[in-house]
């Protein structure tokens, strides 16, 4: 455009110096022939890992070979709740290797990419754009902190690591009793025997396993993204599952509020992986959202999901009557669940608005009424804000609540 206008003006007005304005862009174009521009480019893109935990660093690597280009611009399209920074580049045998460091801050299945590329050649005369798909990054929730796997005293399942009230062949000292026929000589407590003038033997606590069933209320996701009730729910569930599965206990999972899903109690590392996968399925994808609300109550839960004397922990934000109904249903089945309140936010109200202040007060009273009603049913409620260590509160609640058993009711 510049050259054409300049030539036209120069010819029309007979001013030769105006050709200067035309000559500069024309020479630039002449020095940048299209044949010098790259006709193709070889590229590949890959994630350092396709699975990680919230807060982990994942590397995104782009390899591009484009001889003849002047400039390369690359911008990966990142999923929400992902921090990223360009980690630098280097050359490997004529191939440019660009690296980004991604830090996903929220659990879920995230689509990383595409990477948008813009290649400039010929001093800016030629520009090519390309998009390269990357793939899916599975981000597992960060497990809540638990110092150790605590358990109630009354345990039924044999062959575990938790000392119980029953006397057995564990390693934890449980007391002494008078020697009887059949007792082993190695169990004789010589000091007590010498004091009393007759033989006494040491007794040890039996070590039992623990069945934990986590019931997750996914009806509502309330609070700030990253610290919402659903985030706290899945982090607590993952932390509990991880801690108890390491102690060789059995862990099961039930989610309600959307589609009812369950995972039968089992032990082992494989179960932890299955719990994590089940937790990831809690957040509905677009297809499920479009399918409309699904209301399957816990009444559809198979009886085998809640084994004899299992300990049931209900993780819920306590925002409606759903948790109360769930507790009633489990009581009917003979279980007294521990309720973990995972809501750590309140609705924001405009300062000075009396109506909104009254609404907030009513909202608080409704939650308080729910807790009182649960207390009246003998259900322990543990408040968890997402940061505190869970072990202490859990131990206190477990020792207060009896494990469920139909025969106990």
């Amino acid at each position: 455009m510049i050259a054409g206008l300049a030539v036209a003006f120069a010819v029309a007005t007979a001013h030769g110096e105006l050709l200067v304005v035309a000559v500069v862009p024309l020479v630039l174009l002449a020095l940048s022939p299209r044949s010098a521009a790259p006709e193709s480019l070889d590229l590949s893109v890959a994630l350092g890992s396709d699975r990680c935990v919230e807060g982990d660093e994942v590397t995104l690597e782009l390899r591009v070979a484009l001889p003849g280009a002047d400039r390369l611009e690359a911008e990966p399209v990142l999923p929400p709740w992902t921090e990223s920074r360009f980690a630098g580049h280097h050359v490997e045998g004529g191939t440019r290797v660009l690296r980004w460091t991604l830090v996903p801050t929220r659990w879920g299945r995230h689509t990383v990419g595409p990477v948008r590329l813009r290649v400039v050649a010929g001093g800016g005369s030629y520009v090519a754009r390309a998009r390269v798909d990357v793939g899916e990054l599975v981000v597992y929730p960060a497990a809540a902190a638990l110092a150790r796997a605590v358990a109630p005293y009354e345990l039924a399942a044999p062959l575990g690591e938790h000392p119980s009230r029953a006397v057995g062949s564990g390693v934890e000292f449980a007391g002494v009793r008078a020697y009887g026929p059949g007792d082993r000589q190695r169990d004789v407590d010589w000091r007590t025997s010498a004091r009393h003038g007759e033989l006494f033997v040491r007794q040890y606590a039996a070590e039992r396993a623990f069945d934990l069933v986590l019931v997750l209320d996914t009806t509502v996701d309330a609070g700030e993204a990253g610290h919402s009730s659903l985030d706290l729910t899945v982090r607590a569930a993952t932390g509990l599952a991880q801690t108890y599965l390491r102690a060789h206990d059995r862990v099961g999972l039930v989610t309600f509020g959307g589609p009812l899903r369950w995972l039968a109690p089992a032990a082992g590392p494989r179960q932890l992986f299955q719990v994590c996968e089940a937790v990831l399925a809690i957040r509905p994808d677009e297809g499920e959202k479009d399918a409309g609300p699904v209301h399957y109550g816990l009444g559809h839960l198979p009886r085998g999901m809640l084994p004899h004397r299992a300990f049931v922990a209900l993780l819920t934000p306590l925002l409606d009557e759903g948790p109360l109904d769930a507790v009633r249903l489990m009581r009917d089945r003979g279980f007294a669940p521990l309720v973990v309140d995972v809501l750590n936010a309140e609705p924001t109200v405009a300062s000075g608005s009396r109506t909104e202040a009254l609404t907030l007060r009513t909202w608080r009273m409704q939650r308080e009424a729910l807790k009182i009603e649960l207390g009246a049913m003998g259900i322990a409620v543990l408040d968890w804000d997402g940061d505190a260590e869970l072990t202490g509160g859990l131990l206190h609640a477990m020792r207060a609540a009896r494990p469920g058993s139909r025969s106990w009711q």
């Binding site: 000559v23 500069v24 940048s32 299209r34 002047d70 611009e73 929400p80 709740w81 440019r96």
Partner: protein, 180 residues
């Protein structure tokens, strides 16, 4: 208390602000160099339009104001060269040609930087010296043309025909460069 994902797009950065400022500065420089020393009202008017259009191009996320800015700047330079025949004019023409190149480059940079995410990477694959060869040669050629145009020559038919032939050759070469 609805949960919504954070906006992952870029916000204004120093690089973005610098690219916007550069557009306005180069357009203003084109207008000023073209208008002085004789402030012709039409040249000043076109220069003003150039500055306004460049300001719009710096602010708005559209290409049209940038195109208008380049058009107005070119017309400013050409009109000034037509109306003002001072001895400094060839030198001004070379400077304006360089500034026009700068304006186009600034508009391209503003378009690239604006809207780019903070984690985007931009790598020069050739050194600055290599990339500067073509613009320096172009400006050198422009200076030669300016010096030649400033000479007092007796107009003749062969000279005019040679000039026209040179222009046609230049246009053909430039058009050929775009042909694949």
């Amino acid at each position: 208390m609805a949960v919504t994902p954070a906006d992952g797009r870029a916000v204004a950065t120093w690089g973005d602000a610098a690219a916007r400022a550069l557009v306005v500065l180069t357009a203003t420089a084109v207008a000023v160099v073209a208008a002085v020393p004789e402030l012709n009202r039409y040249v000043v008017l076109l220069g003003g339009i150039t500055v306004v259009a460049s300001s719009a191009a710096a602010v708005l996320p559209f290409r049209l104001p940038g195109t208008l800015a380049v058009l107005a700047a070119t017309l400013t330079v050409l009109l000034a060269g037509t109306l003002d025949v001072s001895p400094l004019r060839p030198l001004q023409a070379v400077a304006d040609a360089a500034l026009l190149l700068g304006l186009v480059a600034a508009l391209a940079a503003r378009e690239d930087v604006g809207g780019r995410a903070p984690h985007a990477a931009s790598l020069p694959l050739r050194t600055l010296a290599v990339r500067a060869v073509a613009p320096v040669l172009a400006l050198g050629a422009g200076a030669v043309v300016a010096v030649t145009a400033a000479q007092d020559v007796v107009p003749s038919v062969p000279l005019v025909l040679a000039g026209l032939a040179a222009v046609v050759v230049a246009l053909v070469v430039a058009a050929g460069a775009h042909r694949s």
